[in-house]
Amino acid sequence: MIPAPHLDFLPLLPELIVAGVAVALLVGGALVGRPSQTVLLLLTLAGLIAAAAASAYLWNWDGPGRVLGEMIQADRLAVVSRMILLGVGAFGALYGHHYFARTGVARMEFYPLLLLAVSGMTLLVASADLIVVFLALEILSLALYILVALSFRMASAEASMKYFLLGAFSSAFFLYGLAMAYGAAGTTKIDGIALALSGRTGSQPLALAAVGLLLIGFGFKVSVVPFHMWTPDVYQGAPTSVTAFMAAGTKVAAFTALIRVLDVSFQPLTWDWRPAVWALAAASMVLGSLLAIAQTDLKRLLGYSSIAHAGFILTGLIATDGAGIAAVTFYLVAYSVTVLGAFGTVMLASGGIRERTSFDSFRGLAGRSPMLAGLLTLFLLSLAGIPPTVGFIAKAGVFGSAIRAGFWPLALIGVLASVVGAFFYLRVIVLMYMEEPQAELEPEGAALPGAALALAAGLTLVLGVFPQIILPVLEKAAILRW
C-alpha cells in the first residue's frame, strides 16, 4: 500500500479562498441570471479580505518552510507580497465596478476574472518550484488577456490581441528556459537548482541558457526594454480600471518571483547574470524615460513610465542582499499605491466609456475639477520621485542598495533618467494648471472610487513621510531561507 502523504494546505489558504470565491461567483452568477453588480462587488471584496486575513495568519507560520511536495513557499516574503496583491485586487474591483457600471452593460464576468488573476499573482509570489511559477504566470496572464478585452472600444480588442500574442510568445521562452534549468540541475525546485549548481566549477552552458531564457520570459511580464513593445499599447487600449490593476499587480507578482529565481536558484551564477540585469535595467530606465517625452496620451505616457520604473526596480534587484530585497519590496508597495492612484484619477477625469485620455482632454483640468487635478499632481510627483511622496523614498532605497553593492554607474544612470522623467510628469501638471480647457468634459465624482483614491493619496503621503511604518515588516520579510 502506498502511504498517503501528509498534505499541509494551510499555506495555500489565501489562494484557495480567492479562487473558490471566483468559481462560486462564476457558477452562482450563471444560476441567478442577472446578479446585481453591487452584490458581486461586495462578495469579491469579502473574498479578498478573508484571503488577507488568512495570509496575515501565516506571518507566524512555524510549520515546514515548503509544503505540498515542496511546491509552495510559506515564508514571510510571500505573506507581504500577498498582502500588497490583495490590496491591489481590491482597488481593481472598486475601479472596475465604477467603470462598468457607467457603461450600463452588466459585466458580471469581470469579478471572477479579477479574482482568478489575483489568485495567479498570489500563487506566483508563494511558489517554491518553477512548475508552480509557470502555472501561476499562466493563470494570471490568461485572466488578464480577457480582462483587457472587456471594453467595447476597438482598441481594447486590439490591445488584448497584442498582449496575448506577445505574452504567449514570452511564455514559450520562459518554458524553454525552465526545461534548460531542469536539464542542468535535474530538478525544477527553486532551491534544488541552487544546490545542484553550487557544487560545480567551470562553464555551465545549460544553466546559463536557462537563466537567459528565464530573464526573457520575466522581462516580457514586467516590461523591461527590449521586451517592452506591448506595454504602451496594452495600457492605452485596456479599460482604465483593468490597466490600473494589471500595471500594479503583474509588477509586484513577477518581480517577487524574479527575486526568488535570481537570488535563490541562480545565486551560484550571480556573477554571470548581473551584467545582463545591469544592461536591462539601464536600457529600461533610459529608453522608458526618453520615449515617454514624445507621448501625447496620458495612459500611454504612464505605460512608458512603467517601463522606466521596471528599470528602477531591477536596479534594486542587482544587490542580492536582504536590504536590497527590502528596498525592492518597498518600491513595489510605492509603485502600486501611486500607479493605482494615477490610473484611478485618469479614469474619473477622462469622461465616460470613450476614454478621452489625450493631453487635450486634460488641459485646464484644474479649473473644471480642482480635486482631481490636485490628486493627479500628487501621484505624478510621486512617480517622478519628488519628496515628500513615497516615490522619493522608494527611489532612494533602490539606488542606495545598488551603490552599496558597488554599482554606482547604474545608480547614476537611474538618477539621470529620473531627471528626464521629472520633465514629462511636470509637463502634464503644467497642462492641467496653466492652460485653458479645450474639451468640455465633465469629470465625474463617485463615492467608491473617490474613497479608494483618497486612500491611495493618503498612503502616498504618509509612507513618504513615515516610511518606518512598514520598513521593519519588509526587512523581516526579506530574509530568504532555503
Binding site: 512548475i131 509557470f134 502555472l135 499562466e138 490568461l142 488577456y145 480577457i146 478585452a149 476597438m154 482598441a155 480588442a157 486590439e158 490591445a159 488584448s160 490581441m161 497584442k162 496575448f164 500574442l165 504567449a168 510568445f169 511564455s171 514559450a172 518554458l175 524553454y176 525552465l178 526545461a179 534548460m180 531542469y182 536539464g183 535535474g186 530538478t187 525544477t188 504602451p232 499599447d233 492605452q236 487600449g237 520615449l291 514624445a294 507621448q295 500611454r300
Partner: protein, 100 residues
C-alpha cells in the same frame, strides 16, 4: 536509444521554426500555431531531460504544459474571433489602431 544531444538539437530546430513563424506570419491563427510549435519543442526537451536525469518530474511537467497550451489556444482563438468580427480580417499587421 537516441542520444540526448540529437534530441536537444531537434527541439532547438523546432523552437526556432516556431519563433520564425511568429515573426514572419501575418495571419493571427498561424501565429498561434507557431506558438504551439514552440511549446511542443519545450515538451520534447522536458521528456528528453526527464529520461536523461532519471526523474519523472519532467514528464509530469510536459503534461502540465499540454494542458496550459490547450487553455491558451482557447483564449487565443476567442480573441482572434473578436478581432475578426470587428474588422473582417485577422491579419496582425492591420491591427494597428494603437501606435506611437
Amino acid at each position: 536509444m537516441i542520444r540526448l544531444p540529437l534530441v536537444l538539437f531537434f527541439s532547438a530546430v523546432l523552437f526556432s521554426t516556431g519563433v520564425y513563424g511568429v515573426l514572419a506570419r501575418r495571419n493571427g491563427v498561424l501565429v498561434l500555431m507557431s506558438i504551439e510549435l514552440m511549446l511542443n519543442a519545450v515538451n520534447v526537451n522536458l521528456v528528453a531531460f526527464s529520461q536523461y536525469v532519471r526523474d519523472i518530474g519532467g514528464q509530469v511537467f510536459a503534461l502540465f504544459v499540454i494542458a496550459v497550451a490547450a487553455a491558451e489556444v482557447g483564449i487565443g482563438l476567442a480573441i482572434v474571433i473578436l478581432i475578426f468580427r470587428n474588422r473582417e480580417s485577422i491579419n496582425v499587421d492591420e491591427v494597428s489602431l494603437l501606435k506611437w
